[in-house]
């Protein structure tokens, strides 16, 4: 009897232990190990930070040359005072790790194609995509280059790495970040390669859209036929207000790219060949089309104080923890403040005691596909310039949780990696063998640009700093205390003939290769213009007289730039507060033009009473995308519905998604040609629909949805838009949902549902530097910390924090300074 009891008891104990110590599968996800996750001494409870905790600390390290003082202000922003540059970067690494460790790990895993390692086979497609795109390859090129040619950057990144690892060494398992416990894995050592991988991730986010867009556009052209395609996908933007003012005279180009003679047949009018699709993998979501930003600088001629004001707000996915981490770094060589990237040393967007700078995405096409003819499925040889060239094999091993390793063998050609071949296809690649050529593959010392900007004292230093910048191409805005303002679009941009790179190119000879990289001196730029301001909002940098091809219009949003320039031109006696109002401006320039265009076709007589009621709501709207407006919701749904009605039947017949034509194309047609034939719905054979039919049809369809929204109380803009800042895992409980904020696409306040100003900064270059900023997040990446999402409410309501930028003695005495972390060398 007793033996039986013993056995039963032992079995129950062991069974309980096993269930509580195993990740249980629920659908596609797994629970954490419940016993571990809930245990008070090791589980998530350890991450429940004491409210009003004391962050004072003393940290000893033999990696430091001298002592470093860090003062934390009440927003948990660290102000680092070091006697040696490398010590400052060591401490920056340490603090990034202390507050944002999991995020650094997770984001570099995505870039490295290592998600399957922690999340299982579900993520394999995404990992294979990034491996084959050459993310690790590009990072390795940069690492090798810096190690061989740039001892200062090497030392900087190594100091940063040592700082991260110093934090890791003292981290007890019980104190690991929350997400590691939730997902059941552990932190690993940081390496310089990871910093370069993080910067590759930013390159992908800002230029990698081509990897999907080029395929999609090629498929669209093949589906519609070239003649119809050119009608719907034009690059002509008549209302363009470019970054560099219209009429600027450009230097004669040093490269004259000429289209190959075979282009008509082999490129433009090439028809899709019926390839069999070997296998179809899911692709990761392409980088958001709205990835972009605003920046501008106004000169002293337009400000109240006579000093310039610079503003920068990058528009990226709204995530928790935020991409950005505020920091001040002060050493004998420089003193700088701004937003930094956990994963990289230096300040990325910010200011120092002499200058300020900011970035917006250039959007230029720097990634192309070349179609490869392999000798056979071994892929050891490919046809190029009349003979067989050999490939080299690049092997990447993908570890998969609870499963065997997957080995990717990538055939490297002189173009770059063969991304798609018989091993790997997605619905867009349609069975083709495609090699990818990307400026992101080339070694770049991007981190040095930031290092130098942090130390820049004047315009020449700024130009010098950005001259090194290669990928992702950015519009660098600049302002200095002594009154200069400037903007330059800088990167390695390809010298292209018109439309080169829009589609997949033939890869069998060199005639379609890039003709060169545009020299730095020929990149668009302007300094101290007469109009007294510089600005960019991702629009085309130049008017059509510029001698190089920029890329498809879809990469260059038209309207935000029009809004920004119009407002800046009107303004005078500008203060920092005026600039805050401008950054959060909700005026809808697109609707201003589109609403009357719609009215050319809207016929109240044929519309239902409810549709007319909605039209009235739209007409009474003041054209501001403010959170409580209903008219914007009505306008947006009507416009989207009209677009669907016009394009819908043509595009919907394709089995794979095609590129939608740009809104400005439809708008232009509505203003020019009321009898545009493309509006004809070919499914209804009896009548030829006109734009008028499609518009009114669109209005009725939208009305049905609008009525449902109205009944659910979701007609007002912020309820409809439901802006959210999502945790990187997308778990809602760790996110902030349904934020009360206006804005939208085409609006200066570019806040959509998941995307928007991820950092807002206004810098008034007075002697003391009057700076304001914030981001929708918090300095701590710990969901258990009260500092996790501290700034979100302020951000949603358009407020700003005054940024503390002071010498050590003044900061120590400041009432907002709360804690002191002392780093001591031993």
């Amino acid at each position: 009897m007793r033996l039986l009891s013993l056995l039963v008891s032992a079995v129950v104990t062991i069974a309980l232990l096993i269930v509580l110590n195993t990740q249980l599968s629920i659908g596609t996800t797994k629970t954490p190990k419940l016993g571990y996750f809930l245990s008070p001494q090791q589980g998530f409870w350890k991450n429940a930070e004491k409210i009003n905790d004391n962050f004072d600390a003393t940290i000893l390290s033999s990696d430091l040359k001298g002592n470093v003082d860090v003062y934390m202000d009440d927003r948990l922003v660290p102000h680092i005072y070091a006697d040696h540059d490398e010590d400052a970067y060591f401490v920056q690494g340490y603090l990034h790790a202390k507050y944002r460790l999991w995020q650094m790990d997770f984001q570099t895993r995505v870039a490295a194609g290592r998600l399957s390692e922690i999340a299982g086979a579900d993520k394999l497609s995404i990992d294979r995509f990034f491996r084959r795109l050459g993310m690790v390859y590009g990072a390795a090129q940069t690492e090798q280059y810096i190690n061989e040619h740039n001892p200062i950057m090497k030392a900087t990144v190594e100091a940063y790495t040592k700082g991260v690892n110093a934090y890791l060494k003292q981290l007890a398992p019980a104190d690991m970040p929350f997400e590691y416990k939730l997902m059941n894995y552990t932190p690993e050592e940081w390496t310089p390669l990871k910093t370069y991988l993080f910067l590759m991730f930013m390159s992908y986010d800002l230029t990698g859209r081509s990897a999907t867009a080029d395929l999609q556009l090629t498929n669209t052209k093949e589906f519609l036929g070239y003649d119809l395609f050119t009608k719907l996908y034009t690059n002509q933007q008549d209302s363009l207000d470019p970054i560099i003012p219209k009429g600027t005279v450009f230097a004669k180009p040093s490269i004259i790219p000429i289209q190959p003679e075979s282009a008509d047949s082999l490129y433009f009018k090439k028809e899709g060949s019926p390839h069999s699709v070997a296998s179809t993998q899911k692709s990761p979501e392409a980088p958001d089309k709205n990835n972009g930003s605003n920046n501008w600088a106004v000169s002293g001629t337009k400000t109240k104080s006579g000093r310039p004001i610079l503003c920068s707000d990058p528009h990226l996915g709204l995530n928790l923890p935020s991409l950005w981490y505020e920091v001040q770094i002060t050493t004998p060589t420089h003193s700088t403040y701004g937003a930094s990237f956990p994963g990289s040393p230096a300040v990325i967007i910010g200011f120092n005691d002499s200058v300020a700078w900011g970035v917006t995405n250039a959007g230029r096409d720097v990634l192309d596909y070349y179609e490869i003819k392999f000798k056979d499925s071994a892929q050891k040889e490919y046809w190029y310039n009349g003979k067989w060239e050999t490939t080299t094999n690049r092997q990447e091993i993908i570890k998969v949780k609870d499963s065997a390793d997957v080995i990717e063998n990538i055939a490297m050609t002189h173009w770059g990696p063969t991304m798609f071949d018989w091993h790997y296809q997605n619905p867009q690649s349609k069975g083709r063998n495609l090699a990818v050529k990307w400026t992101g593959h080339n070694a770049s010392t991007g981190v040095e640009t930031f290092y130098k900007l942090n130390r820049a004292k004047n315009y020449d230093d700024y130009i010098n700093a950005i001259s090194l910048w290669k990928c992702p191409g950015q519009n660098f805005v600049f302002a200095s205390k002594n009154g200069d303002i400037a903007i330059k679009q800088q990167g390695s941009f390809v010298a292209r003939w018109e439309h080169q790179g829009d589609f997949i190119m033939p890869g069998e000879d060199s005639s379609y290769d890039w003709k060169g990289i545009i020299p730095n001196e020929e990149n668009p730029m302007i300094k101290n213009p007469l109009r007294g301001f510089v600005s960019s909002a991702n629009q085309k940098p130049v008017d059509p007289s510029y001698p190089y091809y920029l890329g498809t219009a879809g990469s260059f949003p038209l309207y935000r730039g029009i809004s920004v320039n119009k407002r800046l031109a009107e303004m005078d006696q500008i203060t920092a507060e005026d600039m805050q109002h401008l950054q959060t401006d909700n005026y809808n320039v697109f609707a201003q033009v589109a609403r009357p265009a719609l009215h050319k076709f809207i016929d109240p007589e044929i519309l239902s009473p409810e549709a007319n009621r909605m039209i009235a709501l739209m007409d009474n709207w003041n054209l501001y995308n403010n959170e409580n407006e209903k008219g914007i919701t009505v306008f947006k749904l009507i416009w989207d519905s009209v677009e669907n009605a016009v394009w819908g039947d043509e595009l919907a017949k394709s089995p794979i998604p095609l590129t939608k034509p740009e809104s400005f194309v439809l708008l232009d047609q509505m203003n020019k040609d009321t009898n545009w034939v493309i509006a004809d719905n070919i499914d209804t054979k009896e009548k030829v629909e006109t734009l008028k039919d499609q518009v009114n049809l669109g209005v009725e369809k939208a009305t049905k949805v609008l009525l449902q929204l109205e009944r659910a109380g979701k007609l007002n803009w912020s309820n409809f838009k439901a802006t959210r800042v999502s945790h990187l895992t997308k778990i809602e409980a760790l996110s902030r949902m349904n934020l009360p904020i206006g804005g939208g696409v085409n609006i200066i306040n570019a806040t959509t549902d998941t995307h928007g100003p991820s950092w807002r900064m206004v810098v008034h270059l007075t002697d003391e530097i009057e700076a304001y900023g914030l981001y929708p997040g918090g300095q701590s990446g710990n969901p258990g910390s009260p500092f996790y999402d501290t700034f979100i409410n302020y951000w949603a309501s358009g407020k700003y924090y005054r940024l503390l930028f002071l010498p050590k003695e003044k900061l120590m005495a400041n009432e907002r300074t709360k804690w002191h972390i002392q780093f001591k060398t031993i």
């Binding site: 007793r2 009891s5 013993l6 008891s9 032992a10 129950v12 104990t13 309980l16 232990l17 509580l20 110590n21 629970t31 419940l34 016993g35 571990y36 809930l38 245990s39 008070p40 001494q41 090791q42 589980g43 998530f44 409870w45 350890k46 991450n47 429940a48 930070e49 004491k50 409210i51 007890a172 398992p173 019980a174 104190d175 929350f178 939730l182 778990i731 809602e732 409980a733 760790l734 969901p783 258990g784 910390s785 009260p786």
Partner: protein, 126 residues
């Protein structure tokens, strides 16, 4: 002889001992979270009791230890994280339910570990 529960000094002492050792071991997070299963087991072997007493000593030792630790950490955090976890797990955001479940886990696992240990000893007459 019937094995019935009788609250004795031994029960109370082994309860505190189990809790104390589990807490001390738990400070070394290099060791697994379930180390208390081992320590409860051996404590039960060392201090023979009626099985039901042993179960209770181990269950309450761990269950109450966990409850006290959690209540302290949770209240200092003003339920910030526990509410989020109670939304990730299907508990409708109730941190109270989460606390109960956590304590229950400690109670059951601690209890059965001690019970198993006590059944290994030869039965003793009290």
């Amino acid at each position: 002889m019937k094995s019935s529960l009788s609250i004795s000094l031994k029960l109370v002492l082994t309860m505190f001992l189990s809790a104390f050792v589990a807490y001390a071991i738990g400070l070394y997070s290099i060791l697994p979270w379930w180390s208390f299963v081992i320590t409860n087991f051996f404590i039960a072997i060392l201090f023979g009791q009626k099985p039901i007493n042993s179960f209770l000593a181990g269950a309450l030792g761990i269950g109450l230890l966990w409850l006290v630790l959690i209540l302290i950490m949770d209240s200092q955090n003003q339920h910030l994280l526990s509410t989020k976890v109670a939304n990730i797990l299907p508990l409708n955001g109730s941190y109270a339910k989460l606390i109960v479940i956590t304590s229950l886990i400690g109670f059951l696992l601690g209890g059965f570990a001690s019970l198993t240990g006590s059944l290994i000893r030869k039965p003793k007459e009290v």
